[in-house]
Symmetry: none
Subunit: 197 residues, 4 copies
């Protein structure tokens, strides 16, 4: 009664997040998840109807947290540049902290309609946030700009996830860089240390 049920659900979600993220959806067995959660295999099915549904729940928790945190972080901001920077910091840091979960980049199972539907919805909501910031700032083509901004940030995410040398300092420089590039274009960029490649 002291929340044991809730605990078990979280144990499963945590274990699944870990294993789906590190090994991948298809590579993870329900029994692995149960083992890591310290429960019996059948118990997973008391909480989730199928492996796919569990994957959706894991994804949903992750994505909702992402959006919640972003809303929180944006609250104190007043001007567009600040907001864009906060979005960039949030995006890159969020994934930096989860950079060992490379397999979450691909939200497999590729063919689950419910998961694909949710991911579309998540992307729409994320886009809306960026869109509002750009509209407030009277940016031309806010929709296309928002897409581009997120695209740039997602590339940083790919880099930090697959480049083992990516570190804290680079994270900060890259984040700042993306915001500046977005605002001013590449021809106005000031040379910055750390990109001598």
């Amino acid at each position: 009664m002291s929340g044991t049920t809730g605990d078990k659900l979280d144990l499963i979600l945590d274990a699944a997040y870990e294993l789906f993220g590190v090994d991948g959806f298809y590579e993870t067995k329900i029994s692995d998840i149960a083992n890591r959660a310290g429960i019996a295999k059948g118990t997973v099915y008391l909480y989730f109807k199928s492996k796919e549904e569990l994957c959706l729940a894991v994804t949903r928790r992750d994505c909702e947290q992402f959006l919640d945190n972003l809303h929180e972080a944006l609250r104190p901001c007043t001007n567009m540049a600040d907001k864009l920077y906060v979005i960039a910091v949030h995006h890159t840091r969020y994934h930096f902290e989860r950079r060992k979960y490379t397999k979450l980049v691909f939200r497999a199972p590729n063919n689950d309609p419910a998961l694909m539907q949710y991911m579309r919805q998540f992307m729409f909501r994320y886009m809306e946030i960026v869109l509002d910031v750009l509209k407030e700032g009277k940016v031309a083509h806010p929709q296309w700009s928002a897409e581009s901004y997120i695209g740039m940030l997602d590339r940083v995410k790919m880099d930090l996830m697959f480049n083992p040398d990516f570190n804290e300092q680079q994270l900060q420089e890259r984040t700042r860089f993306v915001t500046d590039l977005f605002l001013m274009g590449c021809e106005k960029q000031i040379n910055r240390p750390g990109d001598s490649s």
Copy 2:
């Protein structure tokens, strides 16, 4: 029908490209590929040691063609702006033409080291091309800029693949937009028809 080895290999690659692209790697059975190629299941194994290796071959052929085409398209260009535009057109059009192969976005199998290694190498080579263009144009932070540019283009790719309303005209507008945004930043963008959202 002449039974040449080369013929059969291409039949297999074509069938696999189609099925991996439309249905996904895990969802496609070797027997499906053999059926579509009009050959026997066992024959696939005369050409490829495993399903993963076949997937790698499919990916390799696709990516090499991408790079070959890009090299070809860039040859006549002389200045950076032109080159960047050509890169953008090439990137978006290539994926527009293959937009029914949504499952190729995720180069599963997630855990095959050879495939991941090849994708890293491909990305490195693609990046080098963009990098050279930017360095030639004396752009600051060419590496980071190149990453960002590709990120923006990749987001257009996502949009055109998952948005069923995406059409030829939008493709052109979006492509031009990305190049301009990259060069001038969002604050210098001129309002363009077609993005009133």
Copy 3:
């Protein structure tokens, strides 16, 4: 609602009879039975050691009622022909009233020794009743005759259970027919309406 033990036991037996009869033993889950009985799954195990034992109890209640009713119905009869007719009416009507429980024809689980033992015993007791009637009537080969009579009645049962058009009127005609056939043989049968097939 008063919570008496007896109440709950009957609730379980009723639910199990319904579900075993309509869906079959293997197809019915203990949780289905508990749901239909309006009690918790675990409670079933306060009354029955296992699913098999519950099935036995259901069967036993059904069969005992069958025999009790038959004894009751036979009491007023004095001559053999009457008694045989009463047996026939009882047999066919009993199953006609339960004709939606087609799965009870097969007293699964096939391998439970206790159930098979009980069914043998039931058949023996039923047979004894018919046997006594036939012996009293000085019928030759009373044992074989009794078996045959029950076989004929059981075929009517099969028909009424699996033929959706079987109705009340046919029931009466068929019942009378079987008794006559048994007594007189097919060559003495008088033509009767309703069987022109």
Copy 4:
């Protein structure tokens, strides 16, 4: 090429007949069948889509043989009494020879629509044969009479399957008895040795 395929199919059917018949459908594992057939588990699925379909095939082979044999046995008969006797002999002997396969009495799986459909069809065809014999003999109520006759024979089947003392001699006596009873009714039956119970 020497009929290996056909052989393997028969091996599976034989093994399944044995195990379904002796242990029951639900109690038999596909791996048991494969083991007994001396093949791999997966091979079963090259020949049958599911356990249910295999059960249907086993049943069909058994029933078709039953009908074929019956047709053959009836061919030389000319009058009704002979034919009825041949039917009785065939029915009881067929099951006597298979009396160790008690579980085939219940053609589980109880809920497979294809199996139930086939069993209805089989029963219809068997009934038609008996019906034709009775119509030819101008028996009144041929449909009901046919049902009754089969019912009597089926009861002999039950007896020989579940009564371990049932022997060859009893088989002959019982078979003759059923035919006589059907033709003349119980009141004309002549006392016969062997039924002193």
